[in-house]
């Protein structure tokens, strides 16, 4: 089917060229141009020049368009990967605010976010996509801050555990957070969402 379409396109192109050539001959023979003179001979250098110009235009357009298209596709794929990080953030955020997240699960979410980010940065380097360095660092720093907020419990003795109002503690492997700590975590999730959006916009601009 595809082959047939290509064949039809080629035949149509040849017909168009033949019609244009014939049209040109007929116009040259039949019509008398008052102010213009139609040469009966063609300079060989001119023909060569036209052919080279047409071929150069064809190849440059074809190659440049392909490169541009490839670059666009690469950017789209990278942006798609950053959307996966968005989803990871949404998933862990939902669990944290309900207070039903296991310590191991929180640590695992943080690792997945970090590993996905590192992977995206590596791919961006491979395809020479240079985004704002400060923004890249900001995303990594905020991911580390989120990991600390979620999984850093205080170093204190049994007595202190009983008497203090700890920002976070782990009981039976589940993370228990105070309201203040939840607010801090939510603020960090917001910052990270903003960071990811800025990263996407920056990638898109390149």
């Amino acid at each position: 089917m595809q082959n047939q379409k290509g064949k039809n396109k080629r035949v149509f192109g040849i017909c168009l060229l033949a019609v244009a050539l014939l049209g040109g001959i007929i116009i040259g023979k039949l019509i008398d141009f008052t102010y213009f003179k139609v040469e009966k001979t063609i300079n060989l250098i001119d023909i060569l020049s036209i052919i080279v110009t047409v071929l150069a235009a064809y190849f440059v357009t074809k190659i440049l368009d392909k490169e541009k298209q490839d670059y666009r596709t690469e950017k789209d794929l990278i942006i798609k990967r950053t959307e996966d990080i968005y989803q990871l953030l949404e998933d862990s955020h939902g669990k944290v605010v309900t207070g039903l997240i296991k310590y191991q699960e929180a640590a695992s979410h943080c690792k997945r976010i970090n590993v996905s980010l590192s992977c995206i940065y590596r791919i961006m380097n491979n395809v020479n996509l240079n985004v704002d360095i400060a923004l890249k660092k900001d995303v990594l720093d905020n991911t580390k801050k989120l990991r600390d907020l979620l999984t850093d419990t205080p170093k204190i003795s049994e007595d202190q555990i009983q008497s203090s109002n700890l920002p976070s503690e782990v009981k039976d492997s589940f993370v228990h957070l105070t309201q203040n700590r939840i607010l801090e975590i939510e603020a960090m999730y917001d910052k990270l969402r903003d960071n990811i959006l800025l990263l996407q916009l920056d990638i898109n601009k390149k």
Partner: protein, 114 residues
């Protein structure tokens, strides 16, 4: 220099837990008491390197790492110089963890000196 190797995912668990044993399973305290400190002591006595490979787990919480490595100074009374001489941390999945652990060691050392 010869070395002893620990791969946490293989020799301990693939899902490291919280800081203390009382908080849940596979804690940093348990890892330090049963694997890290005994192996590091062995490495110090034999004047060799202990290499700890962090890759292959589901992910580490800050408390697990702080208690495991910072605890070597706080609880086992080792100095940062001795630890740095005999302990090598490697991770290709999360290379920033090596830097974090160094920071936990420095923090514990500075608090010990006070």
């Amino acid at each position: 220099m010869h070395k002893i190797e620990i791969k946490i995912a293989k020799d301990f668990v693939t899902t490291p837990g919280p800081r203390y044993k009382k908080e849940g399973s596979h804690s940093g305290e348990l890892f330090r008491d049963t694997i890290l400190y005994p192996k590091l002591k062995e490495a110090i006595n034999e004047n060799i390197i202990l290499q700890v490979d962090l890759d292959g787990t589901a992910g580490y919480g800050t408390s697990f790492l702080e208690e495991s490595f910072g605890g070597l100074i706080r609880e086992n009374n080792l100095t940062i110089d001795v630890i740095n001489k005999h302990l090598q941390i490697i991770s290709s999945e999360e290379d920033y963890l090596c830097e974090d652990i160094q920071h936990y060691l420095e923090d514990a050392e500075s608090k010990r000196k006070k």
